[in-house]
């Protein structure tokens, strides 16, 4: 009568890990903060800008630290560029809040503090989700959005 054989379940051999790899900074460091909303201008020509600060060690980004000012319509521009050129499913932006832009409201409309805060959070989530996507990281529009002083809407779209 044959004995039942027990399967060999020992781990496969693996290379020991280099301690600098184990305890060094991770190679996937990418943090983007959207903060410091400032409302610029007067009356009907007011708009709000946000500071977009990026810190990273990913080699695909030219600058390891960058800080730019962007407004909501810049985020919309980025969303449209990515939807057209990249293969990714672009996450949603926080709402356009058209109702808040109508006259005769009891409050400050789109310059209401609570609304600006809500929008800031949404924009931060949006940009972090996109910037971490390997396919979005190839797009010129993303690099221009994050790391160049101003957005040149007449740029030539392309891959990095």
């Amino acid at each position: 009568m044959s004995e039942p054989t027990v399967a060999d379940t020992r781990r496969l051999n693996s290379k020991p890990q280099d301690l600098t790899d184990a305890y060094g900074p991770p190679s996937n460091f990418l943090e983007i903060d959207v903060y410091d909303p400032q409302t610029i201008g007067v009356g009907r020509n007011r708009f709000t800008t946000y500071e977009v600060r990026m810190r990273t060690n990913l080699p695909i980004f030219k600058l390891k630290e960058s800080c730019v000012r962007r407004r909501y319509s810049d985020f919309e521009w980025l969303k449209n560029e990515l939807e057209r050129d990249s293969k990714i499913v672009v996450p949603p932006l926080p709402g356009k809040a058209l109702k808040r832009q109508l006259p005769f409201r009891g409050d400050e409309g789109i310059f209401e503090e609570s609304f600006i805060e809500e929008r800031r959070v949404g924009l931060e989530q949006f940009i972090n989700r996109i910037a971490g996507h390997p396919l979005a990281q190839n797009e010129r529009c993303l690099h221009m959005f994050l790391q160049e002083e101003s957005i040149d809407r007449n740029y030539i779209p392309g891959k990095v």
């Binding site: 020992r10 790899d21 996507h133």
Partner: protein
């Protein structure tokens, strides 16, 4: 089916000769339930008795002949009308005449070839059954008895490991390794994932077993994918140089052997899917086919002579020969 209560009708019952000793196994029916059926292997003889019991004692049963068939067939669900019979044997039990009382007929299908394993899937079914028929002018009386067939294999001579480096340029490079390419149904998948480059934020990693049932040919090929298992192997973010072990016991999952192009009608194949999920729920995956095969059970002293022959065909090992000699001793 008889709509009239005049005349004579009969009940058919098929009983195997080795019903007491033959093993029964569970097999899924089309509606998902599980039933037990007698288990047969390729080459085994199928023998038994057909009992025909007259419902109204005293009345005669006129018939056009009584026979028993052994059928192996493939049924495609989208083409129900056409059964593809790959095994079809018949034994005549009685010439046309009449029965005056209940009777029992012996039958034997000797060393029947059963080339494929029984399979009940999403779009196709392969089954073996005995069918006893009393032919009559208006309507036949028949009874079917399903059996289950398992196909056995031995340890393959060549069973190389699977080792590959895959990734997304500049973002993620991994090297994965599985200890074998062919696993039996109660085997263990032992492997490892080695991270060469990690520039994305990984949240966790899992390994899935996917069953793919393919039916149809040419332009009408249809694949049905089913995730049989999901097994998390890593929780948290890995860094370069880390090695994550894999140990996945297959016995806990309901799987069949790999079936390739059965009678040119269908295939059932299995794949390991390695899935990495990052912090934004993006999924990165690599699929790899594995071959599954069925190992014969441990040869037991009480095994019948026939089953010992069947297992010897496939085991070819010293232990099976010993069992064969032992079984012969027992039966003599």
């Amino acid at each position: 089916m008889s709509f009239f209560s005049f005349g004579q009708s009969a009940e058919i019952d098929i009983v195997l000769n080795d019903a007491e000793t033959r093993k029964k196994v569970e097999h899924k029916t089309e509606d998902g339930k599980k039933d037990k059926y007698f288990l047969f292997y390729d080459g085994e003889t199928v023998s038994g008795k057909v009992n025909i019991t007259l419902k109204n004692p005293g009345k005669r049963l006129e018939h056009q002949g009584i026979k028993i068939e052994f059928i192996g067939q493939i049924e495609l669900y989208y083409d129900r009308g056409n059964h593809h019979e790959f095994v079809s044997l018949v034994k005549d039990l009685a010439r046309p005449g009449e029965m005056t009382q209940s009777q029992t007929f012996d039958f034997e299908f000797t060393h029947v070839e059963k080339p494929y394993e029984s399979y009940t899937g999403q779009n196709v079914k392969l089954r073996y059954f005995l069918r006893a028929t009393v032919s009559r002018r208006l309507n036949d009386i028949s009874k079917e008895m399903d059996i289950v067939v398992h196909t056995l294999s031995t340890y393959p001579e060549l069973n190389s490991s699977i080792k590959m480096e895959v990734g997304i340029e500049d973002c993620l490079h991994i090297e994965f390794e599985y200890n074998k390419s062919k696993y039996h149904l109660k085997d263990v998948i032992v492997g490892k994932i080695y991270f060469l480059l990690v520039r994305i934020k990984i949240k966790h990693m899992e390994i899935d077993i996917i069953k793919r049932e393919t039916t149809g040919t040419g332009p009408n090929v249809y694949h049905e994918n089913d995730t049989i298992a999901k097994y998390e192997i890593m929780d948290g973010a890995p860094v370069r140089g880390e090695s994550i072990p894999i140990r996945l016991f297959l016995a806990g999952y309901e799987m069949t052997p790999t079936m390739r192009d059965i009678n040119k009608k269908f295939s059932v194949r299995y794949y390991l899917n390695l899935v990495l999920i990052d912090e934004e729920e993006r999924r990165y995956f690599k699929q790899q086919e594995i071959i599954l095969w069925r190992k014969g059970d441990i040869v037991r002293k009480s095994m019948s002579h026939q089953a010992a022959i069947a297992s010897q065909r496939f085991e070819g090992s010293a232990s099976a020969e010993r069992a064969l000699a032992q079984a012969k001793e027992d039966n003599d």
